[in-house]
Symmetry: C2
Subunit: 348 residues, 2 copies
DNA sequence: CCTGAGCATTACATCGTTGGAATCTTCGCG
DNA sequence: CGCGAAGATTCCAACGATGTAATGCTCAGG
């Protein structure tokens, strides 16, 4: 059986509370006593029981990271940074999948407190985040306090801390780049419609539209490809559908495809390769996220890069601050981005 | 403040223990009482406090999943299944990264006790797993009990539960397939050497060698590409090195490349595309793992498929069993695999 | 030598849940 | 109608750590 404070206390000839004082170091302990306790601690290889500590003072040392789809490359990279950086702060990461289910997100929030979690980092796909925000407001009214939450990604600002890339700006820049290089019919992959609606999608779409407008171009609704999941498979299948449709209708192909994630771009590149449509000669393709595979796509993918590690860092910092000061005003941290030019775009 | 069993009990007009009985369902409760309690439960949106429960019965409901590199696609897919399936069993997943550091693995094991973890699922890259095994043996001698551990992947059997694919057999089959289709000079990417040594690598190499021997071919050490990390980037760089070397030395190119993971195959495909070496016409490429991106590689990648979900399922089942019966003999579960034939292999 | 200030330590209660034992109900059967 | 068994419910204690309040100790100053 593992040693408890009692055992340590007995060995050191002091009371359990003194041992606790030594461990936590807030109450002063005489040097000589401290030494005795510390040696007993070492001798018994004492490890505090987090359940007990958690029960007593409500801190578990765990924080939850909830991502919409854990199997994407983007999630994996993000998760890695979170785990590494959380570790440095003495936190462990409890991984959760929110899916595309708003209810799941709410559930995560309400269960957080009980599931040994000190805080929550949420990456909502859906605008449904507002559901959580409403919860937040409602809880405030009830005098209940939700666990500290930081949102990764853009949501309606309902007084919740958030960390994100400026999606509309990035999408605008990327679209503008395509326009500058002579593209006129730019399809998007990852758009929203009645069936599928995500905050990220809406914001990137908005940036795309802004760039078109700026250039005096009009959006072609037919070139909006909606993918129910942001995976290569879904993107490939939906994008194939677009090509089939254009072919049957005798419509011209787009001259560029702006995929809202690199993962989807991989699917699109595959479809194009299979159909003998050359990238970038016949059609340009760009992505978003700069996942590890992007540089090794065929051809290497032009995309939007941002530092995922600093997202994790900023989110953890914000969470720590929120835990320390529950009533501080909500922060909104924007992570810088840049276009990475590789081989998937040609000048027309 | 969250509702406790006391609150629920008061509302339902019963004792806290009865509420507990309803929740846990081991002690019988009269139907009418149960109903009253359940309605109170729902009304107060009761959620058990895991800290208290953990303190009382020594279970935290958390298990740790430690993977060598969280940023790989393979890890992501695995993590997803673990999170989903663990959830079904009422467990939350605490994610950890073991890196390629044996000490880190040992640390994870010892930290498990501290960090509210009921068990540990480890995917060791290195044979260093034996370090943990030694810990295990040592701990036994000391009368200390390590937390329940299940290993994903193949390690020296030191009495630890393991779940894995039969790597040597799969590698043998894949190599044999390449030989049957007329390939004679098969490079491998992901081999081991003095600097980098991993259990998985060694076992797949062994299978490759066995197939060559069976076919009366001899291994060419020059065609063994060692990658310090199993990422597209590392594979691309090391494989490029091989091609450069062969070119300078005037050696002939291999006619096939067996990458020990799909991630590395993506890097290899990129390098070949960039150099104008056509796949599969000039060179065949195969992978291992069947990650989601494999089917969308260019060309679609022939690889070894196995059900990652059933790995997660088997590991969780084994862990549950181990927790229930700490002294049961160690199990060794082999997950079936199969070759998936796509477009990256041509008959010669 | 006594007193009181100030610091160090201890006793006790408590967090929420659940085993175990004790108590209370209900119901069948003699 | 009474008794006992089975079933349902309650009471109490304990899991381990720690905040709070009370106690003990040391030492300076009168």
């Amino acid at each position: 059986m593992r040693a408890t404070v009692r055992d340590v206390a007995k060995l050191a000839g002091v009371s359990p509370k003194t041992v606790s004082n030594v461990i936590n170091g807030v109450v002063p302990v005489r040097a000589e006593t401290r030494e005795r306790v510390e040696s007993a601690l070492a001798q018994l290889d004492y490890v505090p029981n987090m359940s007990a500590r958690g029960l007593r003072n409500g801190r578990s040392g765990n924080i939850a990271l909830a991502l919409p789809d854990l199997s994407t490359a983007y999630s994996a990279e993000l998760a890695r940074h979170f785990v590494e950086l959380a570790h440095e702060r003495g936190w462990a990461i409890q991984l959760e999948q929110s899916g595309n289910d708003p209810h799941r997100e709410v559930e995560l929030v309400s269960r957080a407190r009980t599931h040994l979690v000190d805080g929550l980092i949420l990456n909502p796909t859906l605008l449904s985040m507002s559901v959580v925000a409403q919860q937040n407001a409602q809880a405030d009214l009830d005098g209940v306090r939700l666990p500290p939450i930081v949102v990764i990604g853009e949501v309606e600002p309902y007084g919740i801390d958030q960390v994100h890339v400026d999606s509309p700006a990035a999408a605008r820049e990327m679209t503008a780049h395509l326009i500058e290089t002579g593209h006129r019919r730019i399809a998007i992959v990852g758009g929203s419609d009645d069936r599928f609606r995500s905050a990220t999608s809406l914001l990137r779409h908005e940036g795309y539209r802004a760039a078109l407008t700026e250039a005096g171009l009009t959006e072609e609704p037919a070139l909006n490809v909606v993918a129910p999941e942001w995976t290569p498979a879904a993107a490939a299948s939906e994008f194939s559908g677009l090509l089939d449709h254009l072919e049957n209708a005798g419509g011209a192909l787009p001259d560029a495809v702006f995929c809202f994630t690199d993962s989807m771009a991989l699917g699109v590149l595959h479809v194009l390769a299979k159909r003998g449509i050359r990238v970038p000669d016949d059609m340009s393709v760009v992505g978003f996220d700069d996942i590890g595979e992007a540089a090794f796509a065929i051809p290497a993918l032009t995309t939007v890069r941002f530092d995922k590690r600093s997202i994790a860092d900023a989110a953890l910092t914000a969470l720590a601050k929120r835990i320390a000061e529950p009533d501080a005003p909500a922060s909104d941290i924007v992570i810088p981005h840049e276009l990475v030019h590789r081989d998937s775009v040609a000048r027309r």
